[in-house]
Subunit: 218 residues, 2 copies
């Protein structure tokens, strides 16, 4: 399990590397925002990020806001900044936890484990005869692998990730087409839903008219 530490203090890096690897985590550390950004390009799966705010090439909080948050990776802030407003802002933005330096390594590990325990989610979701493997990004229909185009797959994944919840067309447009950068109109979503449905032997996608789409378990 990979943990990414974004921190420029070598003593902390070494200390955490030692302590976390003893607990069987794999710690990857980057000392600058630039390096972290480059690392994200590699698409290595990260279970948790430990993030400093004061970094050599920028503010970690902003980095969290504009990049990490969208990737949906749980993040613990670990920083010397103890200002109440920063703590509150970080937590409200979505940080899983906030620790101030100096910190107890054992406490950090306990908090890391809590976060990981919490965020542990199933990577294979099964609905009726359709199986979605999030790790492999493969969809099975009665055991048979079904071939989807990139966008089809992303939309289906979004629906699976929101099992039992309506996903509005608006959210689909936002989440899927923010990545491509393309500006696309509403009907496109409809067409994609048709394509996805056409590839599945069972229609597991409910339409809630005027609102969105939903996949229910069972």
């Amino acid at each position: 399990m990979n943990i990414l530490l974004i921190e420029d203090n070598l003593t902390i890096i070494k200390g955490l590397k030692y302590a976390l690897e003893k607990e069987n985590y794999h710690l990857i550390s980057k000392m600058t925002i630039k390096n972290a950004r480059e690392f994200f390009q590699e698409n290595i799966k990260i279970a948790l990020i430990i993030l400093d705010i004061t970094l050599p090439d920028g503010n970690g909080l902003y980095f969290y806001e504009d990049t990490i948050k969208k990737m949906n990776i749980p993040t613990i802030f670990l920083t010397a900044v103890a200002k109440e407003e920063i703590v509150v802002k970080s937590l409200n933005l979505g940080a899983e936890d906030y620790l101030t330096k100096p910190f107890s390594t054992k406490e950090l590990i306990a908090r890391v484990q809590k976060v990981l325990l919490r965020s542990k989610k199933k990577s294979i979701i099964e609905v009726q005869n359709i199986k979605f493997d999030m790790d492999k990004m493969l969809v099975y229909d009665n055991g048979q692998i079904i071939d989807f185009s990139p966008l089809e797959l992303k939309i289906l994944q979004l629906l699976f990730l929101n099992l039992n919840k309506v996903v509005s067309r608006h959210v689909i447009l936002d989440k899927i087409w923010e990545i491509t950068g393309n500006d696309v109109d509403d009907h496109t979503v409809t067409v994609y839903l048709k394509r996805i449905r056409g590839k599945l032997s069972t229609d597991i996608i409910e339409t809630i008219k005027g609102i969105g789409y939903r996949i229910d378990e069972k």
Copy 2:
């Protein structure tokens, strides 16, 4: 939403009562473990517990371990005890968070909100024989799914979201028709209410003449 504070310091009790009630939580405070135990007999629903460790009649950590943990209520420790082993032990036992005194009220509130957000289960509101599932956007009448048109559903949702509160026609017009962009007259709302009522076996919607509509629980 009820929050139970188990704490013997009056200054903290008063401060938190003020701060949390401002955020629309209802704070119930007990100063001893004995009183807390008695309170649990009453079976009042508690969303979160804030727990001190050093209490006049015992150790909060033990109380958590033998009583609270079994009740499965998320608990934040708020205590002067900063000993690493106690913090780690509390977190490992199952505490949702651990804050040491002195603490920032705003930070505590942010952490309280995080915990509550996390533990929020399903958003289903039930009134008499009608159930509204906000996640699925489904309405059940005696267990049977009722079919609503988009606007009907949105209006009914608005009323459910304002349970026990009057929603004025004006607000309905604003909130519902701001989305469609259409400019619609007053009577339309009346017609929609008729349509919604017509689909439900029980009329749970009260009309307050000249003011608006309201759904009451019970």
